[in-house]
């Protein structure tokens, strides 16, 4: 017989997790909250300022610009990487030696550290020694020679290329896993029904990839929203401020100008934006295409 006893000793089992979470998340977060509501002049010399930093940040023109830039960047990332990833997954071989060959090839970009990717692409696109930079300029097609440090558009193109090259494989691998999980019988049933290749994609493959696509969209959104290393390595946010995304601006504010109060308020706003959008995407993907009509 099991004996039942009543006390609160189960707490001891939860305690280690609580301690780890406290040190890894709660205490750092509360430090930031602490900074965001005080004006700190030095150790032991702080003034409580309430929501002043929040108000300052929410009306800061440069933050608004950075935020828009960030939305456009992350939006473009999703618009390019998700369809491209699906296409690559659909085109990948289903059996034979080609499977492992393409899986390994796809995995290579994912294994390279962020700032190394930055360095690779900077060298690749440099107008004086870079393979791509020299080649594109030798064609003499562009009115202004390609130089990612000189023109905002070129900086953006380089950044997008870097980001797409680095992370589309992740989307493709997730989609490939999703596709492989569809039993062969689904395709047979569709053939017997006389369904077209588009109908197979639309009514079998896409719905069956819902789960992996949700993960892909969330991961790519969060990660691209937090992008730092690539623009930092490329131009440090330039030319001008044209690649100053939220995290670049945040770091400039916090460690460049040492405005810890506003930077802390900014961090919390930033955190809430990421959280909010993840929630929206998750809800949207959970409900999209439920009970739709075949056309």
């Amino acid at each position: 017989m099991m004996e039942k006893w009543e006390d609160n000793r189960a707490w001891y089992l939860v305690l280690p997790v609580f301690v780890v979470v406290a040190f890894s998340a709660i205490i750092p977060l509360m430090t930031v909250v602490n900074y965001s509501i005080q004006d700190i002049f030095g150790p032991g010399n702080a003034v409580f300022v309430g929501t002043e930093w929040y108000e300052e940040m929410l009306t800061d023109k440069r933050l608004h610009d950075a935020l828009w830039r960030q939305f456009i960047f992350s939006g473009l990332v999703l618009l390019i990487e998700i369809p491209l990833g699906i296409l690559i997954a659909l085109a990948m071989p289903k059996k034979g030696w080609g499977v492992s060959a393409s899986l390994v090839t796809l995995a290579i970009p994912l294994l390279i550290p962020w700032n190394v990717i930055g360095t690779i692409w900077i060298i690749f696109t440099r107008p004086d020694i870079g393979l791509f930079g020299v080649w594109i300029n030798s064609l003499d097609l562009l009115q202004v020679p390609f130089d990612h440090t000189a023109r905002p558009l070129y900086a953006w193109i380089t950044l997008m290329a870097m980001e797409v090259w680095h992370w589309t494989p992740l989307v493709a691998l997730l989609c490939y896993a999703g596709l492989r999980a569809i039993p062969e019988a689904y395709y047979q049933a569709a053939r017997i029904d006389g369904a077209s290749a588009w109908a197979v994609f639309r009514y079998i493959q896409l719905p069956k990839m819902r789960g992996v696509l949700t993960i892909a969209v969330l991961l790519r959104w969060m990660d691209s929203f937090l992008i730092y290393a690539e623009p930092f390595a490329l131009t440090g946010g330039g030319p001008g401020n044209t690649t100053t995304f939220l995290s670049i601006y945040l770091v400039k504010l916090a460690t460049g100008q040492f405005d810890l109060g506003p930077a802390a308020a900014f961090s919390l706003i930033y955190f809430l934006i990421v959280l909010l959008f993840c929630f929206i995407f998750y809800q949207a993907l959970l409900n999209v295409g439920r009970g739709e009509k075949i056309s």
């Binding site: 019988a185 069956k208 439920r290 075949i294």
Partner: protein
């Protein structure tokens, strides 16, 4: 008129999936393909559907060669072991999908979908998504999708295998009734002899890609052509005992020396394999004709209201199907009774030499 498979082989790489298939299925017929796993049942269905092309041989539909006609242009519906439905479409749209793709007018689609759904008792679930249904309801939806087309050929590939026991019984009875109302060619594969017997019609016993026997289901059950057919078409497996006929008596191991009576009359002197189904072995005498043998209990396996008693007789394992729950001590010697008229007799090559006659059927 119907479907004719003529000398069909299917060879993939160096593996033989099907060999020498010669089969005629009449319109309105019901055929069960019985075989163990990997016997080639699914391969055969795929060939009939036109999903695969045979390596050799021809497929004819009403005398017309359709070997090279793609599945899209044939009138086929298929139900699979897995529950295959379009995941993002409701039950209604799932059932309607083959009709919509065929370009049938909306009002006709509506009546046909509702009629088929009612037949399968899912008319109250038409607005649900497949993921919101139980396994049985999902398979009903898939069957409705296949039936709604009213195709010439209806193929069912072990459709009840993934359902639990109770649902399986229920759906099996319903399917049997539905098939009777159809004038399509219905082909149904299964690994279970009981299912084959219940569905009736004709049977094709398939083993390692070859057809072993074809005929009306009950007749094949009564007269299996070879030991292999008897094995496949018995669940629990049939018991075999080697024996010989000598001077008008059959000798099977140490205890059985029976005179040749009834169907065994006229057996020539030779070595034979004697087969007897588990339900014909008893641990209590059931009639005056019964002969007795003594065997040692190895295991009593209780299965619902029955017990399978595994015994060893003269070095050979036998299984007794006992009606009722019986716990026998392992290692104990028990008398086992059998009526001699229940013996199947196969010759040295494994071909049927004598089968129990009408008189002796219990």
């Amino acid at each position: 008129m119907g479907l004719l498979l003529e000398g069909v082989d299917k060879i993939v790489g160096r593996e033989i999936h099907l060999k020498d298939i010669q089969l005629e299925l009449a319109t309105g017929s019901r055929t069960v393909i019985l075989g163990r796993t990997l016997a080639g049942k699914t391969s055969l269905l795929r060939l009939m559907a036109g999903l695969d092309k045979p390596t050799h041989g021809r497929v004819l539909e009403d005398g017309r060669d359709v070997t090279k006609v793609t599945v899209r242009k044939r009138s086929v519906a298929m139900v699979y072991q897995q529950f295959i439905n379009y995941p993002s479409l409701t039950v209604y749209d799932n059932i309607a999908s083959p009709l919509k793709l065929a370009g049938i007018p909306k009002t006709e689609i509506d009546t046909r979908v509702r009629r088929t759904a009612a037949m399968l008792h899912i008319d109250n679930l038409l607005d649900r998504l497949p993921s919101e249904l139980s396994g049985g309801q999902q398979q009903r939806t898939a069957i409705a999708r296949a039936l709604v087309k009213e195709s010439r050929l209806l193929l069912l590939d072990e459709p009840l295998v993934n359902l639990d026991y109770k649902l399986r019984e229920e759906l099996r009875v319903e399917l049997q009734q539905i098939f009777q109302q159809r004038d399509a060619i219905v082909v149904y594969t299964t690994t279970e002899p009981a299912e084959a017997l219940m569905l009736g019609g004709d049977i094709v016993v398939l083993d390692e890609g070859r057809m072993l026997q074809v005929g009306p289901t009950a007749q094949v059950y009564r007269r299996p052509a070879t030991t292999r057919v008897a094995e496949i078409f018995s669940d629990p497996p049939i018991n075999f005992l080697p024996g010989k006929v000598h001077q008008g008596r059959a000798h099977l191991g140490k205890d059985i020396h029976m005179p040749l009576q009834q169907h065994m009359q006229g057996l020539a002197e030779s070595d034979y394999t004697f087969g007897v189904r588990c339900n014909h072995l008893c641990i209590a005498p059931s009639g005056a004709d019964d002969i007795q043998l003594r065997a040692v209990v190895e295991l009593s396996e209780i299965n619902g209201s029955e017990t399978f008693i595994h015994v060893v007789y003269d070095g050979h394992r036998l299984v007794i199907q006992h009606n009722g729950v019986q716990q026998l001590k392992i290692g104990r010697e028990v008398p086992v009774y059998v009526n001699p008229c229940q013996f199947f007799v196969f010759d040295a090559a494994g071909r049927l030499a004598a089968a129990p006659g009408e008189a002796c059927r219990v």
